[in-house]
């Protein structure tokens, strides 16, 4: 190792001592003066303005900071995009019911719809069924229809005392509050 370093030192000393010599410095002087005299200064003001505005790019630490900041911004952008895509994907899996009449529905009806939906949820595990908007509308309409029929039946029973008595008797016999029609 020491021998290796010794050799390196010798080579370096040899190179240090032997500095390249410029033999024609006068030629360089002449050429430089000639080029200076031929310089077109029209663009100098523009170049100076450019340097004044963007000269900071030559500062190492500023350049490095900008690189870090741009990388951070790109990462942040990618992260946000990922979140947005995940949200869109999640929302696209949800059943959307946004009919005008539904928004105007009475609170009772809404509660009934929720019961229907909850029952449907119990019967079918999540993600195993997809219901279209049309099907949902049909389902709600049939629930409303059924409800109307039930009310009609109630009215009918109330208006006819004979029928009411008979139904009450039947209910008493079976010890039930409801009857299969």
């Amino acid at each position: 190792m020491a021998q290796e370093n010794e050799k390196l030192d010798k080579v370096l000393n040899l190179l240090r001592k032997s500095s390249p010599l410029l033999d024609s410095s006068e030629d360089i002087e002449k050429e430089v003066i000639k080029r200076i005299k031929n310089i077109d200064y029209s663009g100098t003001v523009l170049a100076e303005a450019f340097d004044f505005m963007f000269g900071w790019i030559y500062i190492g630490w500023v350049r490095r900071c900008l690189v870090v900041a741009s990388v951070a911004l790109v990462l942040l952008f990618a992260y946000q995009q990922a979140i947005i895509l995940r949200r869109i994907d999640y929302l696209s899996r949800q059943t959307v019911v946004s009919e005008k009449e539904n928004t105007n529905t009475h609170a009772d009806e809404m509660a009934k719809m929720l019961v229907v939906l909850r029952n449907a949820g119990r019967r079918f595990p999540s993600n195993s069924i997809t219901i279209s908007e049309k099907q949902m509308k049909e389902l709600l309409e049939s629930v409303n229809e059924l409800q109307l029929k039930y009310k009609d039946l109630e009215n009918l029973i109330e208006s006819d005392p004979e029928l009411k008595k008979m139904i009450q008797k039947k209910l008493m016999e079976n010890n039930r509050t409801k009857i299969n029609l």
Partner: protein
């Protein structure tokens, strides 16, 4: 010796003073350019371009010390550009005569000196595996004798990066010397 008064006189547009500045600046600019590029013509072109750049930006120079660092920075950057223009660096081939030359010169002792063509050959075989940055750091630090702080300022690298580049450059050169010398 370059002093701030000479630079200030040059700012006034005095070509004679600028000739003196060129005369004082050219040797060390040429030394770095030649050691970096290994070709006399290219090194002279770099010196000329550097001096023209200095003439155009004399207003920015604040001190004589800063001037020297600034010159080095311009030369090194122009050398980087030149190296980039050489699209592909040729594959390393063991250069027997160059290693024999080093061996002979070392055995000659302290009186040994190298001609420019010999300097070019030796630096060429020692640094052909180095990156442009490593080569610049090695030349500025080990051959031009500039401190790590100075090299850091010239190259725009951090001090730790300068040390790391210098370590790798020396290691690579040591390995070659051990292998071929």
């Amino acid at each position: 010796m370059i002093d701030i008064e000479l630079i200030e006189e040059c700012r006034g547009g005095n070509f004679n003073n600028f000739r003196k500045l060129v005369e004082l600046t050219s040797p060390f600019a040429y030394s770095v350019a030649f050691r970096m590029l290994g070709k006399e013509d290219q090194a002279k072109d770099i010196v000329q371009e550097t001096m023209v750049t200095i003439w155009q930006k004399l207003k920015k120079i604040k001190s004589a010390e800063g001037y020297k660092t600034w010159i080095y920075r311009i030369v090194v950057n122009k050398c980087y550009d030149e190296i980039r223009k050489r699209k592909r660096i040729p594959e390393f081939v063991t250069d027997e005569p160059a290693w024999r030359l080093i061996s002979n010169k070392i055995s000659e002792g302290p009186s040994a000196a190298l001609e420019d063509s010999e300097i070019s050959k030796i630096i060429g075989i020692l640094t052909d595996k180095l990156s442009p940055k490593q080569k610049a750091v090695f030349i500025l630090s080990d051959l031009e004798g500039i401190s790590n702080d100075g090299v850091s300022e010239i190259t725009g690298l951090s001090k730790s990066s300068v040390k790391a580049n210098l370590y790798h450059a020396r290691k690579s050169i040591s390995e070659k010397i051990e292998k071929y010398l």
